[in-house]
Amino acid sequence: MKLGKKIFGNAIVSFTGLCAFAIIGVVIFIMITIIIGGHSKMSWGFLTKMPTEGMTAGGIFPAIVGTFFLVIIMSIVGVPVGTITAIYLSEYVKEGSIIGKTIRFAVNTLAGIPSIVFGLFGLGFFIQFVGVNLDKLVSTPGQLVWGQPCILWASLTMALLTLPVVIVSVEEAIKNVPKELREASLALGATKWETIIRIVLPNSITGILTGCILAVSRGAGEVAPILFTGAAYFLPHLPTKLSDQFMELGYHVYIMSTQSTNVEETKGIQYATTLVLLLLTFCLNFSAIYLRYWMRKRAIT
C-alpha cells in the first residue's frame, strides 16, 4: 500500500515534469527548424534587396522597412498614451475607486479582444469613418486619399492593440519608484505635477522603455489587424507618405506561404523571412526581459 502510493506520487511528479519539459522542448524545436530552414538563404543581400522576378527571388527589404515604419508610428502614438494612463492609474486614482476600476477593466478587456476584431475596427472606424470624412474635408472631391487602407491607419490600429502592454509595464515601473522619493519631493514644496515630471518619470524610464520594446515586439508580430488596414502583397516602391500602403514581415510570411502561386519554389524565402521575424521578436523580448530584471534588482537594493 505504502509502496503503491509512493509510485503513484513519483508518477505524478514525473508527469508534471514531463509536461513542463515538453513545452521547453517544443520551443527549442520550433526555433531550430526555422533556423535550419532559413539560415542558408540569409544574407546581407536578402535583407537589403527588393523582391525580384515576381517575388520568387531577391530580398525582403521593403517588408523590413514597412515593419519598421509601422512600429515607429505605432510607438509615437501608443507609448505616450499608455504612459499617461499608467501615471493616472498609479498616481492620481485612489485604490479601489470606481474610475480606477473602470479604466483597469477597459485595459484588461482591450487586452482580451481578438486581434482580427481590431482589424475590423481599423477598417470600420479609421478608414470608413475618419478617413472617408477626412477626404470630404481636405482632398479633392472624388479622390480617395485617407479613405483607403494605408500605413497610418494600420499603425493606429496596432497602437490600440498594444496599448495594454505599455500600460502594464509602465505601471509596474512607477510602482517600483520608492514612496520616500515622492514624499521628499512633496515635502520640499514641489507640486504633484512637478513631482511626477521631475521624480517619478525619470525614475521609471526603464519601465517605459520596456513597455515600448514589448509593444514593438507584439506589433511587429501581429498580422491580423493589418490584413485589411494597410498591408500590401507587393509594392514596387517604399512607403513615403502616411497615406501609402506598405509591406510587412509577418504579412509577407502569410502571403508567401498561402497565397503565392509557387509556394514550393519560394520555401527558402518563406523560411528566411520567418527567421528574420523570429529573431527580431526574440531580441526585442530578451532585451525587455533583461531590462525588467535589471529594474527589479535595482528596486530591491
Binding site: 508534471t16 515534469g17 509536461c19 513542463a20 513545452i23 521547453i24 517544443v26 520551443v27 520550433i30 526555433m31 526555422i34 499617461i84 494612463t85 492609474l89 492620481y92 474610475i99 473602470t102 479604466i103 477593466f105 477597459a106 485595459v107 484588461n108 478587456t109 482591450l110 482580451g112 479582444i113 481578438p114 486581434s115 482580427i116 476584431v117 482589424g119 475590423l120 475596427f121 477598417l123 470600420g124 472606424f125 470608413q128 490600440l160 496599448l163 495594454p164 500600460i167 507640486t191 504633484k192 505635477w193 511587429a220 508580430g221 498580422v223 491580423a224 490584413l227 485589411f228 509577418g250 504579412y251 510570411v253 502569410y254 520555401k267 521575424l277 526574440f282 526585442l284 523580448n285 526581459i289
Partner: protein
Amino acid sequence: MMKPHPKSSFRLHEFLAEKSIAAIAFVSFIFIILILIFIFRESLPLVLGKAIDDIGKVGLWRLLSLSWQPVSNSPQYGLAPLIVGSIKVTAVAVLFAFPVAIFAALYTSTFAPRFAKEIMKPAIEILAGIPSVVIGFFALTILASFFQKSLGLQYRLNAFTGGMALSLAVIPIIYTVAEDALNALPKSMREASFALGATKWETALFVLLPAATPGIFAAFLLGLGRAFGETMIVLMATGNAALLSGSLFDPVRTMSATIGAEMAEVVFGDAHYNVLFFIGVCLFVFSFTLNAVAEFIVRQRMMKRFRGTA
C-alpha cells in the same frame, strides 16, 4: 492672521494637468465603446434586414442556412459551418493545452528544482513572444506533414492540426495565470499540509490545486478566449474549407479565419461585408463576456477565499 487653508490655494496648471491626464487615461475606455459601436454599425444593415446582395435583401434569418457560400450565384450566409469549425479547433486546442499548462505550472510552482524553474520562465516568455504567424507557418510546413504521416490523415490541413498549433499559442496564457494563482496561495497552507504529514504531491494535488481553482478557472477562460479569437494560426493551418462535418480530421474554417480570408476581397457595403462585421461583433461579445467573467466573479472569489470570508 489666519493662513489660507492649503486646499484653497488653487493652482491652475496642476488642475489642467490632472484633468488632461484623466482625459487621456480614458482613451482605453472610450475605444472599447468605439470598437463596439463601429463594428456594430457596419453590420447594422444585416440586423435591420436591409443588407443587399445580387439576389435581394438579406437579414439575420439568412445566417441560419447550413452552408457558407457568400460568393456564388445564390449566396449562402449560413454561420453553422463556421461556428462548428471554431468550436472544433478551439476544443482541440484547449483540451490539449489546458492539462499540459496546468501540470507544467504545478511542476514549477511546487516540485521543480531551482534550475528547472529558471529555464521554464524564459521558455514560456519566448513561446508567448513567438508571433502567431510564425506558429502558423511552423504548423503549415512541419506540423501538418508530421500529423498526416503519423496519423495517416486524408487531408494535410484539418481541424486537429490547426487546434494543436493553436494550443502552442494558448499554453503560455494558461500557464502564466495558473502559476500566478498557485504562487499566490499563502505559504501557511503548504506548511499546514506538510505538518499534518502530507507528502509534496499530496499537498500539490489535494491542497494547492483545489485552493487555486478560481485562478485556474480564470486561466481556462482566458485561454478559451484567446483560442476562439486567434486568426493567423487557424487561417494558415486548418485548410480553410467551410464544411459542415463532425470529423476532427476534416478541413474547417473558423469564424475569425473567415473574416481574415474574405474581408480583403469583399465589396464594401454589400451583404457579405455586413455579415463579416456581424461575425466580428460575435467574436467581440464572446471575448468580452469571457473576460468579464474571469475578471469579476473569479478574481473576487479568489480574494475572498484568501481572506477567509468565503
